[in-house]
Structures are given as C-alpha cells and as structure tokens.
Amino acid sequence: MTGDGDRTPSAQRRAPSARQAARAITAVAGALFATLAPASPADVSLKAKVDRTEIAQDEVLTLEVRLESPEAPTRLDLPATPEFELESQQRSQEHDVTLGGGGALFRQAYVVTAQLRPTRVGALTIPSARAVVAGREYVTQPIAVRVVAAGTAPGGSSPPGAGGGPAAGGQALNRAYRGWEKDLVLDAELDRKEAYLGEQVTASFWLLSPLELLQCEGVTTPHYDGFWQEDLETPRTRLPLEIHTVNGIPTRAYLVQRVALFPTRAGELTVDSMELSRITLRMGRPSLLGAFDDVVTLSRRSAPVTLHVRPLPPGAPPGYETGNVGDLRLDVSVTPAQVSVGEPITVKVSVSGDGNVRALAPPRVSRLPGTRTFPPVTRDANEKRNGRLFGTRTIETVVVPEQSGEIVLPPSGWPYFHPGVGYQVARTPEFHVNVVPGGPTAGSGTAPGTNVLTAGLRPIRTEAALSRRGPPAWQEPWFSVLLVLPPLAFFTASAVERLRSRALSARALRGGARTARRRLRLARRRLARGDAAAAVAEVEKALSGFAADRLGQVATGLTRDSLAEGLVRAGAHPPAVRALFEALELVDAARYGAGDLHGEEVLTAAERALEALEEADWQAEGVGR
C-alpha cells in the first residue's frame, strides 16, 4: 500500500541503462536546471509506502518515503511513529534525466527508508510524512498497518529475516535475500559458544556487503561488559576484504574489528551491538562522461551475541591463583652459575602462551638466606597471531649474595588451568649458584646493590670541564654586539669615505678653477697687449686644463662627444658642458676662422663656461649613491 502525496509525478523514470548513460550530465545539468527553473508543484511528488501492511509484533516493517523533485527539499521528515519503534534509518539520493521531444527533464529523488518495529498488537497507523520544497509543503496519506501477536506471522507477508540487517535482533544469521539492502549485514561472531572463566574468546565483527564498500565511519563499539578486552585488529583506514560464503553465495566481508575477550565472570555474558552509522557503498561506476559515483549511505547495527561462561571446575591445586588460565608454558633461568660475593644473579621467570598475560601471576622468587633480593621487574609482551592473543610475562629478580657458598633455588610448582585439559602444574628444576669470595670490581662499575638491568651502561667520566650555567649564547650581550658591530662599522666607514671623497673633490675643483681663472686673467692681459693669438691659446689651455683636471686625464685629443660624455659622467651638468663647448667653438673659430678674431667674446664665453662648470656638483655617477 502506498500513501501518495497531493501531487503526482509528471514524468516516468527511465530504464536503468538510460540512467547510467545520462548520469554524467546529471550533476551539472541538474544543478543548472534546478537553478534556472524553480520547482513547479507539478514536478514534485511525495510518496510513502510500506513493504507490507500486516506483520507480527516481533517483525520489522520497512517504510520508504520518496520525494521526487527537481529541487532539493528544505525539509523531508519521517512521520513521528509513537506506535512503532524506529530501528534504523537510511537516506539516499537518486538522479534521473529524461531526454524527450520537449528537451531534457532533470529529476532527483530523495529517499528515506526506516525500519519500524511495532510496539503493540492491533490496528496501527503510520502518520503522514512531510516535505517542504521551494516553500510549499507536501504531505502523504497515513498508512494503516495491522499487527498480530508475535510468532503468528501472517501468511505470505512475513519478510525473510532481512539478513540480520539493521538491528535484526536474533535473526542475524537468517540471511534470506530480499532486496540488496537486506544483504548488507553487520555480523558479530564469536569463535566459540562456551568458554571457561578467563579463557580467550575471539570476537570478530564483519560487514557483509553485496556492494563495494567505499567508506565506513561512525563506529560505535560494544562495551564488552564482563570481559577483559584486548584489541587484536582494528583497521583504521581501509577495512580488509575477504570473500565469505553466506548460504552458498560468495559475499564481500569487511573486517571491522577483532578483539580477544577474557570473561571475568561466569554465566551468560552478552557482547553488545556494534553500530556503523555511515556505511558508504558504491552503487555503480561513473560513466565515461561523468565523474560521479553513484553511492548510497546506510547504517547497520549488529545483533548482540551471547557467550556461556562456565566457572572453573573445582579441585584447583594448592597455590592456584585466579587468572592463570590458558595454554601456558613456564620457563625459569638463573644466570650466571657462579658469581663472587656482591655480584648480581638474575632469576628470570617467564610464562608464555595463549592467554591473558596481564592477568597471570607467575611464581616469584622468595628471599634467599645470605642474599639481598631486590624488588622484581615485570615485563609483558603481546603477540597477535592467527586471530589469537599470545603473550609472555617475564619477572626478573636480582639477587645479590652477601656471603660465599652455594645458593640453591628449590624446585617449585606453578598451577594453572588449561581449558582443554584441566588443572596443570608446571614444575621448575632446582638451581644451584656457586658464590665465591671476592669483592666487587668497583672499577668496572659493578658494585654491591647493582641493578643488573644496568649491564651495558657506559662508565662515568673522570674529567669534566665544569662551567657556570648561563643563558644560551645568543642571549649573551656579546652576541648582540657581534650582530650590530660589523654592519655599523661598514656603514660608518662608507659614510666617512664618502665625506672624504666629497671634500677632496671640492678641493680639487677649487684648485682647478683657480688655475683656470689665472690663465684667463693672463689671456686678458695678453689680449690687452694686442696679442690675441696668445690670449686665445691661453683660454684654450684654461678650459682644457680644467676639463682634464675633472676627467683625470688629458683632454686634448678627445672628440667633443667623448669629452662631453666624460664630463657628464664626472658630474658636470649638461648646460655647463654646452657652455664649455660653445667657448671651445669660439676658440677654434678665433684660431682658425677666416674672420676677425673676437678675443673679448672668447674670453667672456670662457668665463661663463667656467662659472657653469664650477656650479656643477661633480659627483661622479655611481659614487656615493
């Protein structure tokens, strides 16, 4: 029976093969369509259905609420079912694209599945489910269910066990297949049904799945009340896969956890349910055009399993201590066989085998006369092999003889319980240690009271350059000085060098200018005497000499371009260089020109050029910058 909502779907779903082909564009196109075209009420349908309408009270009913809509719902709630107990719940999502004459129709289905167990007998009702899409509310019709007394399952309507699926109670191993979700089972198994108190029992939790497992999260482990628990195998990332045959069908089995349990009390002990709240399975591979797996997320809970724990039988040998249970072996060693007085003897007692080594109480060395017996050191080592826990408990006792003679460790018996055989007593032989006179070899580092565990200790140092404890070197004042001083010295020296260079340059400039002016005065006097040629020659000497002084080389013979470049490089301003060249042009014109010799004009130009050159800062390029 179904409880349809108040809207029906406007398009039928395509066959699975078509869905797979279209899945590639589903995600993108669907999102696009959903964005561009708001959900129309005609495109939305909400349905609720149950797998049967008549069940026994001890059975589980499956309710499926299905919302088909091009747009994601803002709410999709299962109905509150006060007359049913919610066993488990799963949510999944399906995508569908229909290609027809009217174009592509994108459709999404949101499915919520719940397993419900009735709480009473009679005519019960599953109330309406509700969904809200694009602000509109959609409601399903209530569904009536008839519940009969437990054990009187209505003919033909009883589900075949559901494969121990979600909280299937005691039906975990009754795996009749009815839909693939029924075959997803979290199975708890014990390697035996009965065990003695303290005997090792292995519990394994397998996830049986018809589909490939992608991820498994939200593991709630049982409490293991009444057990001493030791972890054997808990995969953290990828669950190991085995193929198990269930009812003749090969099935994927993923190991979720394996633990060794040691019952701590007799009677019926129950291993609680384990729950996996997020099991992600791959429904199908992505198509060539798509990149999205079709996945479904479900939850499962294992059924509790019961172990009958028998108390240990009566007739325990004297000295038996509770906890000495298992398939065990006792080894004792005493080394060395001969020592000097004051040298240590190590008595090592080891109990090993299949059992809870942490609960074992191996025999201890009692105080021997004429010796100092130190407190024993206990060490445990566990080994996980073939799904069982094996271990060794070792007790080392150091005995230091204080007098010469023979030390005798008498034979002893250590009772324990072997689950397959019964009470056993492990016997140790008698040990003799010969103690000879002689003091300890102090120089070698062995001394009375020496802890034998220090064997191999490197000796003390006889020399030590003791120094006062202080802050680390990088917090010392000298380190700050080291950091600051070199750059400070560098920049100070650079600044001094620059200042010195400037001073020298200024002095040279003043000296060169004085010489040039002297020559110009001499030229003026010669001009006044009427010797214009000598005056012009003197002017040229004045200008060339000044330029050569600034360039640091003889200027005669340089082309005008070379001279200009050199002067600019030396720091002369271009207008000053132009003035110099004008004066030199006049000199050349006066010397070689066919016209009149204008000595006064040459002198004036030379003085103007000299002034301009003096005004330059004469900071050579790249110096002090």
Partner: protein
C-alpha cells in the same frame, strides 16, 4: 754635668702588642680561606670516588649539589644519570642523559646510556611519528658550534662587503662571490640558531613515577584513561595547578600529576 741617662728604647718595643690583633685577624682569614668550599673539580672527583666505591646515593647527592650551585657539563649529567640508573631511578636517569645530550649532542656515552634506559621502558609508544630530518640535524649541532658558524659567516659577509666597497676594482668579482656565499651561510646558520632557540622553548619531561595515571583533564577526580610508566618521555603543553598537560610522540594527550614528571 750630665743629665739623666736615657736608656735607649728597645727597638719596636711597643709594636708587638699592636701587631697581635692584626696577626690574629690574618690567621683567622687564612684559616677561613683554608676551610672554604672545595673547588668544583675536587668535589666532582669526590663524587666519582663515591660512585666507584658503590655509594651511588652519595655520588648522586654530590653531583646534584654541583648542579644546584650552577655548575654544568655533559659529563656531570652523564655521571649523575649513571648514579641514578644504578639506584633504580630510571626516569630521573633518562632526564639526566637527555640534559647531557642537550649540552653536547655528540656525547656518545650519554646517547648509549639513554638508549639503554629507554630500552627498559614499559610503554611502547605505538604510531610515534619519526622526527623530521631537519629537526634531528638541528639537535645534532652543539650550541657553541652553531654560534661559531654564524659568527664566522656574519663576519665574512661584512668583511667581503667592505672589501668590495673599498678595495681595487680588480678584486670586486671575487669579493662579490665571497659575499654571496657568506650570505647563504648566514641564512643557514641563522636558521640553525633559530631552530635551537625554538627547541629551548619546548619543554620535554620524563615520567619518574613507576606508574602515572593519565586523565582527560586537570581535575584529579577524573577517572584515569590510561597509564604511563617510568622512563616514558613526553612533551609538556601546559601546566595548571598541580597537573601537567602532556603529549606523547604519537599525539596522545592527557593530564598528569606534576610530581610524576621530571622536566628535562
């Protein structure tokens, strides 16, 4: 006529009396100086003699006195560790060896004895992440070596820059290469120093109690979630009251009583 004869005064007749208190003070000072504390080297040797005679408690007491007075060296920590180890105090010995290695990471004796002590730990930290190679490299260098490397590189850098600035142009290329290489060394040595300084800021500790219950919070009333045993090394994250928040090598965290730990 002659006047009363003046008997010549014995030479320094009154001075001995004046000198008595001075001599007494000097003698007292001398005696005080002789009875003063022995030099640390002599006390170290005395502690060694006690150790070799089997008096490990006495040796440990003397070593610890030297440490309390501010004296330090890697051998001093190694010897104290040996004395504690032989007394059965493996956790404290582990802390001493770790301190020796912090002072001198190349101390082979401290490393060997530390490994010996660790080998007897009850707790095996499963899933502990391997320490990064860089961190191990930083720890393998002594503080002094790191400082010396940095100082040399720093001085070379500025020396080369100064030479390039003031020397003839012919050697500018060589000095530039030297300055570049020195700058790289400065960066590397600076990173080394920074790593060492950061390492100083990290507090590690060793469990010294035979069994130390670890709780989820600092409140002692909380039920212990697991137990750590003597010799296990932890990293201290926080201290609150009498409880210490620690982290194991595999990331497991919890709170311990401060008395169960010995900081390194």
């Amino acid at each position: 006529m002659t006047g009363p004869t003046q008997r010549p005064r014995p030479l320094s007749a009154g001075r001995p009396r004046a000198l008595v208190p001075i001599l007494a003070v000097l003698a007292l000072l001398s005696a005080t100086a002789r009875a003063g504390p022995e030099p640390p080297a002599a006390r170290f040797e005395a502690a060694n003699r006690a150790y070799l005679a089997g008096d490990f408690e006495g040796a440990a007491r003397r070593y610890e006195e030297l440490l309390r007075e501010g004296w330090e060296s890697a051998p001093l920590h190694v010897n104290l560790g040996n004395a504690l180890f032989r007394m059965g105090k493996r956790g404290l010995a582990t802390a001493s060896y770790s301190r020796a290695l912090r002072l001198d990471p190349g101390d082979a004796d401290a490393r060997a004895n530390l490994e010996l002590a660790r080998a007897q730990n009850v707790d095996q930290v499963v899933g502990a992440e391997a320490r990064p190679l860089l961190l191990r490299a930083v720890e393998s260098v002594r503080d002094r070596s790191a400082i010396a490397a940095f100082a040399i590189a720093w001085l070379c850098l500025w020396g080369a820059l100064a030479g390039r600035r003031f020397a003839q142009s012919a050697s500018h290329g060589v000095l530039g290469v030297v300055a570049f290489a020195a700058a790289i060394c400065v960066v590397a040595a600076g990173a080394l120093l920074a790593g060492k300084a950061a390492g100083r800021g990290t507090t590690t500790a060793v469990i010294v109690a035979v069994a130390a219950p670890v709780r989820e919070g600092p409140e002692p009333a909380l039920k212990p979630t697991f137990e750590l045993h003597e010799g296990t090394e932890v990293r201290v994250l926080e201290m609150r009251g009498g409880s210490v928040h620690v982290r194991l090598g595999n990331g497991l965290e919890g709170w311990l009583a401060a008395g169960d730990l010995e900081p390194v």
